[in-house]
Assembly symmetry: C2
Homo-oligomer: 202 residues x 2
């Protein structure tokens, strides 16, 4: 017998493929089943409703990102650690570009589909917690201003803004330009803190 969890994952990945190729509104039960090489009835055996299917698909994306973050090798230097985590969150390669587009589609649909809202908020919270950890870390190391909450807000918005731009204009916002933008921001944070420290001493 086939592992049910495996089948569900197979279907979730079919959802993501269809979503990315044709848009979320094309991720119908029929299309997803065909994409996965199964029948509608079979899909329905694993997911009682379409909403359940979509939620599961998005959840796998969130979990995948979480796993990647947890799997990062330890890095003693605050600045390098920040850069590495942020690079993990940016759509730098095809896999993460796909995840990013899925995130955008879900974010948009969650505006009007209450069933997706809780999960969307969960993704938001995870990302914000990441930013919080990064900024707190940098600030403690003297590499970011002392006003942590304000800098969390700024970093989080910058990150999601870059993600949206990368989805809209992948030709303009390349992997190189994205990492450069983040690096520049981190440099700016460090410089700001430095000038803060100077004026405090004086």
């Amino acid at each position: 017998m086939v592992d049910p969890a495996e089948r569900r994952l197979l279907l979730a990945e079919a959802v993501l493929r269809v979503m990315r190729r044709d848009g979320l509104e094309q991720a119908s039960v029929r299309n997803v089943a065909r994409e996965a090489g199964l029948s509608m009835g079979s899909l329905r055996h694993y997911f009682a409703s379409q909403s359940e299917l979509l939620v599961f698909a998005f959840r796998t994306v969130i979990e995948r990102i979480g796993l990647r973050l947890a799997g990062l090798e330890p890095e003693p230097d605050s600045r390098r650690r920040a850069q590495r985590v942020l690079n993990e969150l940016l759509p730098l390669d095809d896999e993460r570009r796909a995840e990013n587009e899925v995130w955008l589609a879900f974010t948009s649909r969650a505006m009007v589909d209450p069933a997706l809202r809780a999960l969307r908020d969960e993704g938001y919270d995870v990302l914000r917690a990441c930013c919080q950890a990064i900024v707190a870390d940098l600030s403690a190391a003297g590499l970011a201003p002392a006003d942590v909450p304000a800098e969390v807000e700024r970093l989080h918005a910058l990150l999601d803004g870059l993600a949206v731009h990368a989805a809209m204009r992948p030709d303009i916002h390349t992997a190189a330009s994205l990492t450069a933008a983040i690096a520049q921001h981190l440099d700016a944070l460090a410089r700001e803190r430095a000038s803060q420290d100077v004026s405090e001493r004086g």
Copy 2:
């Protein structure tokens, strides 16, 4: 006789109402016609296809924003001018919150609907030009770092990121917190430039 342009505008506004209330995918020919108090046939008399209707609706949004920007009273102080323009671009009141949600929905759909892509790119370009003007202005006034392109990228991403966050979590990202985030960023730019100037002199 009724002015055709007026009727088209009436229908466009119906599109925006439906989009915001029920999502873009609910902005069908039938629903929009009903929302506008017209028949399907009548709608089709003004718009040959649904795509044409949606494009026109989004265009009116872009034009409305452009008109608001053009209508801003002159402000001699660079910093205050920047703040004012940026506040105009942020979803601070209900009208602009609606426009912001429409923008998000269009951005998402344009990922898979080529007919919307050109218009979405136009909106992107307009916003980027705004950021460009603001940063160049601030930089010339000694209130932003000398590396204008890099700061344009940062401001643009920050702006769109805040917009997305405001759409996702209007309870968290209030008008006050949005303006505060922008003000904080402008302060940071000025401080960065100041420390740049100091180190150049020394």
